[in-house]
């Protein structure tokens, strides 16, 4: 069965510090992986997906198939990055499975 694990419920960093939000997945095949962001009381928005290899708002994520990880990184955190971040896996593009989320708090 597929599973997405985000081990950190809360991550607090100071403005300008590097950020890494961890995501590990379990799936026997080659899934599509995503990061979504949810600002306070808003809808979830797609941040990035591994297949496009984009950098959005300074965030990047690298798929490591050996470690089955898809960690989200940003070299210099900004206060406006404070939000909930969800890692998601789609095994066959028909369903999406989400992790439990990590709340990022960027302190001034």
């Amino acid at each position: 069965a597929q599973r997405v694990t985000q081990p950190e419920k809360l991550l607090s960093v100071f403005k300008g510090a590097p950020v890494e939000l961890k995501c590990n997945y379990s799936y026997s095949g080659s899934p599509e992986l995503f990061w979504y962001v949810q600002y306070s009381r808003q809808r979830l928005q797609l941040l990035l997906r591994h297949i496009s290899r984009e950098s959005i708002k300074g965030f990047t994520a690298d798929l490591n198939k050996g470690e089955t990880s898809f960690h989200l990184k940003k070299p210099f955190a900004q206060e406006e990055d404070s939000a909930m971040y969800y890692c998601a896996l789609s095994p066959n593009f028909n369903k999406f499975y989400f992790g439990s989320g990590t709340k990022l708090n960027v302190k001034p």
């Binding site: 985000q6 419920k9 599509e32 995503f34 808003q42 809808r43 979830l44 928005q45 797609l46 997906r49 297949i51 969800y86 998601a88 789609s90 593009f93 028909n94 369903k95 999406f96 499975y97 989400f98 992790g99 439990s100 989320g101």
Partner: protein
């Protein structure tokens, strides 16, 4: 917003009453989903649909039913609401690519 609207946005209901939440899309997407969002659990899939009258269960389907009689509408029904169904419910569609787009959510409180 990928043309997704949810209604109502907020609802308070009593235990044991039926509740129906509506998800409406304007872009003719085939796949639609209902999730619930709870602290510590993230988003969990309740039911999904892959076409008119084609639906299937997700991870947490007990106590919920769905219907899709038109491409644009996907209804989620709580047959007899319980306090454990107090949650924020999100509808989503799968877009032209491979990603999901979400509605604004419905905050449901069962008292």
């Amino acid at each position: 917003d990928a043309g997704i609207t949810q209604s109502p946005r907020h609802k308070v209901t009593e235990t044991g009453t039926p509740v129906t939440l509506r998800c409406h899309q304007t872009e003719n997407h085939r796949y639609m989903y209902w999730y619930r969002q709870d602290p510590g659990h993230g988003l969990r899939l309740i039911h999904y649909s892959y076409g008119v009258k084609d639906t299937d269960k997700g991870e947490v389907s007990d106590g919920y039913s769905v219907s899709r009689s038109k491409t644009e509408d996907f209804l989620l029904t709580l047959e007899s609401a319980t306090s454990s169904q107090t949650s924020v419910y999100f509808c989503a569609i799968r877009g032209q690519g491979t990603e999901a787009f979400f509605g604004q959510g419905t905050r449901l409180t069962v008292v």
